[in-house]
Structures are given as structure tokens and as C-alpha cells.
């Protein structure tokens, strides 16, 4: 800066700073409001994004669960088929019903 710093320093009139603060009040208040609004929007946005992520996560999880259930059902079916297949009496009844049993087979 200038070597003439003392030359440029001048004590302003009384209440100079107070007048400035009074004039500045509305602008400062508006900037504080804008800051709060920004913060709130940010918070809402982040919450919304988190919520959306949770919903999609849940949907994905449920689909995965559904796939696993179908697999289990399929396996169960096979096992029950095996159970049926091992039951000879039932086999005979079935074959009788279907007229597939030869005399020598009985």
C-alpha cells in the first residue's frame, strides 16, 4: 500500500459506524435468510435422495427375495415328487388308474 497511510487515515464523524450498521441491517438479514434457505434446500434434497435410494434398495431386495423363493419352491416340488416317486403303493394306484400296469408287474 501507500507510504502515505497516515495521510489517508481520517477519523470519521461520531455515529458513522452506527449509521452504516443501520443501513446494512436489511441486506445482512436477507443474506442470512438466503443462507438458511440454501441449507434447508440442501437438507431436503439429501433426505429425498436418501429416501429414494432406500425405496429402490427395498424394491431390489424384495425382487431378490422373490427369485430365491421361486427357487426354493422348485426344489420343494422336486423333493415332493421324489417322495411321491418313492411311495410304491401310490405308484401302483397311479399306474392302475392309468391302466399302465401289466399283470406280471403287480
Amino acid at each position: 500500500m501507500s507510504k502515505w497511510n497516515d495521510f489517508f487515515d481520517e477519523q470519521p464523524p461520531i455515529h458513522h459506524a452506527e449509521k452504516i450498521m443501520q443501513a446494512a441491517e436489511p441486506i445482512l438479514a436477507q443474506q442470512a435468510r438466503m443462507r438458511r434457505r440454501k441449507f434447508l434446500l440442501g437438507w431436503v434434497g439429501a433426505s429425498f435422495a436418501a429416501g429414494l435410494a432406500s425405496v429402490f434398495g427395498l424394491i431390489f431386495y424384495q425382487r431378490k427375495q422373490a427369485e430365491n423363493f421361486q427357487l426354493v419352491e422348485f426344489i420343494d416340488l422336486e423333493e415332493s415328487d421324489l417322495a411321491i416317486a418313492s411311495d410304491q403303493d401310490f405308484d401302483i394306484e397311479l399306474l392302475n388308474d392309468l391302466d399302465l400296469l401289466e399283470e406280471e408287474d403287480v
Binding site: M1, S2, K3, W4, D6, F7, F8, D9, E10, Q11, P12, P13, H16, A17, K19, I20, M21, A23, A24, E25, I27, L28, A29, Q30, Q31, A32, R33, M34, R35
Partner: protein, 179 residues
Amino acid sequence: MDDLELIKKVGQGDRRAFELLVRTYQKNVYGLALRILGSAMLAEEVAQETWLRVITAAPTFEPRGSVKSWILTITKNQSLNVIQKRGWEDALPSDAEEKIASQEQQLEFQMEFEQNLERLKVAVSRLPERQRVALVLWMHEEKSYSELSQELGINVNAVKVLLFRAKENIQKFMREEGT
């Protein structure tokens, strides 16, 4: 808290930070405006306008230089705007004075001027407007003649004449005041 942190807080509407900044630099802002404008009333108005601009520009402030220089640049620009809107009180140096400009004189103030700051303040305040503004900008920013000419929108020769005449008038004032 340093000035950069203060400015950041001012940009967020922090009243206390702003008040601290005002109380720190109000003498510099008011003083520069007074030296340029030569009027206490105008200097107060310009100082207030400067501080309001500081608040509105604070959110986008980029620390290229110091906060103080930034605030004083706003002060200077606001002061010059007042003069330009109103119109200069005095005329540019005439072509007849170009002879002075052709002499490569280094503008210097004698040491005794620095020792008589209060008298110097009075002497500067009594200068014709263009001489006063040219001299104050030269003293404050230590700019070259060509930089001053660009700032004031006049040619380099006119700047040299203004500064030369300003120095002459101050010396005359100091002699008359019995320095």
C-alpha cells in the same frame, strides 16, 4: 479471525463480522473518500455506499489481493463515480501547459510534507478538483502517469501537468502557512 474469514462470514449475513470489519477499516475508507472528494458530507455518503457494496459483493469475493485493498478500491471507484456523475468542477489543463508536461520531472514531495501531515491534508483539500484527485490517486496507489491517465480518462501529458500544478499549489500553501 483474519480478514478472509470475516468477509466469508459477512457473505453469510453475519452482523458481528461486518461490524468488526467496519470498525477496523472505517478510518481508511472515510479518509480516502475525503481526500478524493474534499467534502466531509460526500465522503460519509460514499463510505456508506462502499460498505453496502462490500456486503453485497462479499459472497462472491475472491482473494486475489488483501481484503483492505479490495475495500479501498471500491471506495476509490465510488468516489470517482460521484465526481463523474456530477461533472468535474474544473477544466483540464490547457494546451499551453503542455510545455510543463514535456519536462521529465519526477514528482516528489519534500520530507517536510510528511512531517506536516495535518497541513498537507488541508493543502490537498484546497486544491482544484482535478489536481486533488490526480494527486490523491498518485499518492494512494503509487501508479505511473500512464496508469493514472487510463484511470482518469485523460492523456499522460494532462496527468503530468495536474500533478505538477498540485505540487506547486501545495508548496505555495505551505509557504503561506509559514512552514
